[in-house]
Symmetry: C2
Subunit: 170 residues, 2 copies
């Protein structure tokens, strides 16, 4: 299913909270008390974020977590990657380490392998395009986060009639 796990959800809650108190050291206890979140799982999410280098942890009394970088420099993509691994779409991609080894036995005939990789890339860009800051900023109009003035369909350009050279993303 195309959705995030709770672990990620908890991690996001924590990160948004940490963004509110940027610069400070906040304990997992504090976060756990503020939101109805199983503290134990919250701790796991925080650990994962720490291991991914997104959070700095200080132990001992008065310890806690803090952002290692500015909230502007942390993307949703990184966060999701840290919490549940880089998002893949199909089994083909899951193995194969992306086109590296042609491990996918369907590869030769599989008509969707490449298209689906594009899809993943697109979704990935979407996640990469959102900073923790913008996520945490409640003053931003929801529709403005992703939506642009242009028609979404036009942006993503559906039928791909115009095929302008694209910035080599990946």
């Amino acid at each position: 299913m195309l959705k995030l796990t709770r672990r990620t959800e908890y991690g996001l809650i924590a990160l948004v909270h940490l963004t509110d108190r940027e610069g400070e050291v906040v304990s997992s206890t504090e976060i756990g008390e503020r939101y109805p979140v199983p503290k134990r799982l919250l701790a796991e999410a925080l650990k994962a974020l720490q291991q991914a280098g997104l959070l700095h942890s200080t132990r001992g009394a008065h310890g806690g977590y803090s952002l290692t970088r500015s909230a502007d420099e942390i993307t949703l993509g990184e966060i999701v990657t840290a919490l549940e691994g880089r998002p893949t779409l199909t089994s083909c991609e899951g193995l194969g380490a992306l086109q590296a080894s042609g491990a996918c036995d369907v590869q030769h005939v599989c008509p969707i392998r490449t298209p689906l990789q594009r899809l993943r890339t697109g979704m990935w860009n979407l996640l990469e395009g959102v900073s923790l800051r913008s996520l945490a900023d409640r003053s931003v109009n929801p529709t403005d986060l992703f939506a642009s003035e242009h028609e979404p369909a036009a942006i993503l350009h559906v039928h791909a009639r115009a095929l302008p050279q694209a910035p080599g993303l990946r």
Copy 2:
């Protein structure tokens, strides 16, 4: 996990194949023979697509499936919805039927509810923006499917200037 199920994968394979033979009636057997896909599951995916109104089925000998509309008019969003339900991101949204009933007990304090809804919307637009036709068209440059002339980050508009991307995965 942020990924599609195999069922969806199989459904997409079938749809791409059906797009290649647009107008014709193709049996699930034929598809199953062409690609190394468990025929049984393929049949399930096809059934789901039929029930969603994306495919027309004819029974009996020489029966099979065909697209109900032009491949241009079918979006990935519809397909995914048919095969695994409308993508949600968090539990908050899962219940609540989206902001309708305030079922989410975290709602009052949950700092990510709204932002995450935006995320979902963005991903949804992404899926809605891709037609089956463009997905099936192998001549389209992969990067062009989603990418536009504009910088992705600019489109999705974020403060972040795209960090160096870690190629490592899994």
